[in-house]
């Protein structure tokens, strides 16, 4: 569907130079602040963190007030290990002993103001990123990292990509599933903003293997964050956390590669 947009842009560009863009400030309803839980357990060395915060209004700064005082537990249900997290700074809860192991199922429990929030996520088996290259061609002034890896045919896989430029993580993510690509060797352009990647930058790409629940949330969140204009009926992404919060909990594998843009 991203292709549809680029063609529309092209049609506009060629035909109607009178089209134009401007920033508007329509009145938006401000919903009551809601609780957001975001956290991962991965197959890289811990500790792992859970962040609890609150939503803010659309026109507010991107500063989300952290929420302290929660009792947060992560349980490795496969190994039968319990870890009570410590609030290391306001709203950031950190693990002690738990180890992320592919194939294990983890349960997150958050107790806050008498309400209980729970989520379960199973870490998939790892998929290794082979290499990254760069695509300089598709849109002017846009350099896109290209990931290369083999999707395992025997499993249903879900992925998330992140890009770090010169040690600074881009505030962008991208999801993928192997529904139409099962068992294929995957070469995929990652979407970046124009000018976000320049020559001689050191680029690190993370390929996270995630489970279905986390994917459903992240895929909807990706559409809402970056393509909300194309959705006829945008809606709050479906969280994999039960109990009424926003956000997600993911047990995931991480594989990364880096390269310098030539």
């Amino acid at each position: 569907m991203k292709i549809q947009t680029s063609i529309i842009v092209l049609v506009l560009f060629i035909l109607f130079s009178s089209s134009c863009q401007k920033v508007i400030t329509p009145q938006l309803s401000n919903g009551a602040p809601q609780l957001v839980i975001e956290g991962t357990v991965s197959d890289t060395t811990g500790p792992y963190h859970i962040n609890i915060s609150k939503t803010v209004g659309f026109y507010a700064d991107n500063i989300y007030p952290n929420v302290s005082g929660a009792t947060v537990t992560i349980t490795d249900q496969t190994a039968g290990v319990n870890d009570l997290l410590t609030e290391t700074s306001t709203g950031i809860y950190t693990t002690h002993s738990i180890v992320g192991t592919p194939g294990h199922t983890y349960q997150l429990q958050v107790l806050l103001n008498g309400k209980n929030y729970t989520a379960v996520s199973t870490m998939p088996l790892p998929v290794a990123l082979d290499s990254i290259t760069f695509d300089y061609t598709s849109i002017k002034n846009m350099i896109q990292p290209v990931v290369h890896y083999q999707d395992p045919a025997a499993f249903v896989n879900y992925y998330k990509y992140n890009i770090t430029v010169n040690g600074v993580k881009l505030n962008r993510f991208q999801t993928d599933e192997d529904r139409l690509m099962n068992g294929k060797y995957i070469n995929e352009d990652l979407v970046t903003d124009t000018g976000a990647i320049k020559k001689n930058n050191l680029i690190l790409v993370n390929l996270d293997g995630i489970d279905k629940g986390a994917y459903n949330f992240l895929q909807e969140a990706e559409n809402i964050a970056f393509y909300n204009d194309q959705l006829a009926t945008p809606a709050t992404p479906t969280s994999n956390i039960s109990g009424g919060g926003l956000g997600y909990f993911s047990a995931q594998t991480v594989s990364s590669k880096s390269a310098v843009v030539k």
């Binding site: 569907m1 659309f58 002017k140 204009d229």
Partner: protein, 778 residues
């Protein structure tokens, strides 16, 4: 068994016909009404008699009419908008064949004055509620985007019909969604009526004779869509002399050639159009533009042959395509093709028959071809359609229409073919097969010279057919059962009776009231959860999961003409109840998804409104004002707690003003103004962070509004040269004169200049678009 029961009902419904069978000696006058200069048949021309006020008949789509009246001497009037009324004295002592050729009223439509009061009152009575008819001449002077005359854009200036926005071919009729309009070109369904993703419609106005729009009170011979019928007829071609006409515009040029065949017993028309911006992009310095391509073309063809006085055949076809490619790496091609073979046969002066074989296809392909991937995705819908219609002129008071039709739909929801090195696997979604049939019977009954009732029933039947796997799903969308059906095996049948009723009562020679009720059923569903009326549409027939959509509508109208028929006023209220409406679960993926039906939600809806229309029909200044006040709501379990919420197309107020002024013989000026309430949309209530990116959360569905849409267009036509042999004109227009920023696209996004903020960005398509077109005819 069900069918038998309905037959009985039909017979009961028709009992007035049997009871009122007349005893007095009557004879039938029948014939065909044509344009004198071109030999084109004239549909909806009126035949009436000065001596029989209130009795009259309109010709059918093929210009054929028949009427039975008592013997005697009469003054027969044949009238047609824009043509000089023909008067003929007759002595009726036997059945008579009277073919009429009407002369176009010299030059301008505006000069036509229908003097006969009989004809006037007939007009008031004959048009059912909810019906609007546009002759192609009516739209000649309405200013349009880039000078491309466009019948589908022009009808959006009529009451109850609203646009889906700039750059979108979709339109909404009385609250229905864009896929609930049945758009017919010479009886063939046109699934995607858009060129350039919606900037223009596929209908080349040079090839079109007229369009009838039914917003309600659909005659029983139409069915298959909930909201409206746009029945577009192609020109037959001039059977008197060869001619050519065309135009050169900024976007496209067109050429039409027509002329007689077989010693004036037949005629043909070929009309073609092609856009040519792509001829210039090759010279662009920007490489993206240089290696990109975009064009459309379409061809209309039609031929007809009058075999003898009772047999006539027509063959017509449309073929159009849009081709777009982006940097030689993405490509999108889509197009419709239709073909219609028709046979008109007059069994007797009372029984007219039309048999049609119709083909219709819509296909799109998307190509991705770059160093990484090579994949071609395509989808299609194909219809094979047989239709048999009879018109039986039973007596002077009753005209029966009956017939049957059957359409075999084959939809290909999607295939993807990839090269071995591609990241994608081949995907072949199962084709879906369905046989949609209908039987109908209706009677136009002139109860008295003041009251006319049209009533009937359409019995529609959908058979979902194998081969294929059919699944059932639980409420979470998990498969609970799977059954394989062999080819031709009936998976599911839906039989729905669709009653139709319309009555007009003439209060006085200048005014009438009208009432209608109709039910429509829709079995072909367009799935699209994108904000744009996308070309990559998925069409699905009803299935074991998707039930037929049903709409019941009641409308009440008042019509009035005044100032010696110089003005026409109509006002209607309607209420529509909708069942089995389709919506989507969050995150529903409609592309390449074999379990697409698991991602659907079903609910109901209601739409109601008030439409008013005032038209000035004569004088140097003509035009109309149209106003619609309406509400459209949906109720879908799982959305907004199962409460009613406004549909996207719920535009509360809609106003359009159209004016044309014939200043001199050479110059005509025109303007139109449109205002409507913005669509109901869902905007964020706040934001949170996911992986560092701001993500939004939402409150109730469609609780926000786009800014109101408004726009003024102006145009001028200069008749440069007019002789008996050659005519040429220039059309100048400016679309959106005052440069109103109407939103095409609104995105909520991270502020590119401030990482700590989010912003709302609006894209506007057309701000002041001037154009010039040169038209010629010889």
């Amino acid at each position: 068994m069900l069918q038998l029961k309905h037959l009985v009902i039909i017979l009961l419904l028709l009992s007035p016909v049997l009871v009122l069978a007349q005893s007095k000696k009557t004879f039938t006058i029948s014939g065909t009404i044509k344009d004198k200069a071109s030999g084109e048949t004239l549909p909806a021309a009126t035949v009436s008699f000065v001596e029989l006020p209130g009795k009259g008949i309109t010709s059918n789509s093929y210009g054929f009419y028949a009427i039975s009246i008592p013997e005697g001497s009469y003054t027969m009037l044949t009238t047609y908008t824009g043509y000089t009324t023909d008067t003929l004295k007759i002595l009726l002592t036997k059945n008579m064949l009277i073919n009429k050729s009407l002369a176009s009223a010299s030059g301008q439509l505006q000069e036509v004055k229908i003097k006969s009061s009989t004809a006037r009152s007939n007009n008031i009575l004959t048009t059912p509620a909810g019906v609007q008819r546009l002759n192609i001449k009516d739209i000649d002077n309405v200013p349009v985007l880039l000078g491309e005359k466009d019948v589908l854009k022009t009808i959006q200036l009529l009451p109850g019909i609203v646009s889906a926005g700039d750059g979108n071919a979709g339109f909404f009729v009385r609250g229905g969604s864009a896929d609930q309009n049945l758009i017919l070109l010479d009886e063939a369904t046109v699934y995607n009526p858009s060129h350039f993703l919606g900037f223009f419609s596929v209908f080349n106005s040079d090839a079109i004779k007229d369009i009838s729009i039914y917003k309600g009170g659909m005659p029983a011979n139409y069915g298959g869509r909930l909201s409206s019928v746009e029945d577009i007829q192609m020109n037959d071609g001039n059977n008197q002399k060869f001619g050519a006409s065309g135009g050169i515009g900024l976007i496209a040029s067109r050429l039409t050639v027509d002329g007689p065949l077989f010693d004036n017993k037949g005629s043909f028309i070929i009309s073609a159009r092609r856009s040519y911006v792509d001829l210039f992009t090759g010279f662009a310095s920007d490489t993206t533009t240089k290696h990109s391509k975009i064009y459309f073309y379409d061809v209309n063809l039609k031929g007809n042959y009058q075999i003898d006085s009772i047999n006539r055949i027509f063959l017509s076809g449309y073929f159009g395509k849009d081709v777009m490619s982006f940097r030689n790496s993405y490509g999108l091609n889509y197009g419709n093709s239709t073909g219609t073979l028709r046979w008109n046969h007059i069994f007797s002066s009372k029984l007219f028959s039309n048999t049609s074989l119709i083909y219709s296809n819509y296909t799109y392909d998307v190509d991705f071809d770059n160093s990484l991937d090579n994949i071609k995705v395509s989808s299609a819908i194909t219809d094979y359609h047989f239709k048999q219609d009879f018109t039986y002129y039973l007596n002077s008071s009753n005209k029966l229409g009956f017939g049957l039709e059957s359409t075999y739909h084959i939809t290909q929801p999607g295939t993807a073919i990839a090269t071995a090195s591609s990241s994608y696997n081949d995907v072949f979604l199962e084709k879906k097969y369905a046989l949609e049939s209908a039987l109908y019977l209706s009677d136009e009954w002139n109860v008295s010279d003041k009251l006319k009732i049209t009533y009937g029933v359409r019995l529609s039947d959908l058979n979902v057919l194998g081969p294929g796997n059919f699944y059932t799903y639980d409420k979470d969308g998990n498969k609970t059962d799977s059954t394989y059906y062999k080819s031709g095996k009936i998976v599911k049948s839906y039989i729905t009776p669709e009653p139709r009723f319309a009555a007009s009562y003439q209060l006085n020679p200048n005014s009438s009231v009208k009432l209608s009720y109709d039910r429509n059923v829709q079995n072909i569903h367009l799935l699209n959860n994108s904000a744009y009326l996308s070309t990559t549409n998925v069409y699905l027939p009803s299935s074991n999961n998707i039930k037929p959509e049903i709409a019941d509508q009641v409308a009440l109208g008042y019509y009035h003409t005044f100032h010696n028929n110089g003005f026409e006023l109509s006002s209607e209220i309607y209420y529509k109840n909708l069942q089995n409406q389709i919506d989507y679960k969050n995150g529903a993926d409609l592309v390449g998804n074999p379990n697409i039906e698991a991602d659907l939600l079903y609910g109901s809806g209601r739409a109601y409104g008030w439409e008013t229309y005032i038209k000035k029909k004569s004088g140097k200044f003509t035009g109309w004002i149209s106003y619609t006040l309406s509400k459209t709501e949906l109720k879908i379990p799982g959305i907004n707690n199962g409460d009613y919420y406004p549909a996207t197309q719920d535009q509360t107020n809609h106003i359009s003003l159209v004016g044309m002024y014939q200043a001199t013989k050479k110059w005509t000026f025109s303007a139109d103004f449109v205002y409507n309430t913005g669509d109901a949309v869902t905007w964020p209530s706040g934001k949170f962070s996911v992986d560092g990116a701001p993500v939004y959360y939402y409150g109730a569905r469609n609780s926000n509004r786009l800014p109101a849409y408004n726009r003024l267009d102006i145009g001028a036509t200069l008749l440069a040269k007019k002789t008996a042999k050659y005519e040429s004109s220039w059309t100048f227009s400016i679309y959106n004169v005052y440069g109103q920023s109407n939103p095409y696209d609104i995105i909520f996004q991270a502020d590119p200049n401030n990482a700590n903020k989010t912003q709302v960005q609006q894209t506007t398509l057309f701000k002041m678009v001037p154009s010039v077109t040169y038209n010629f005819k010889f």
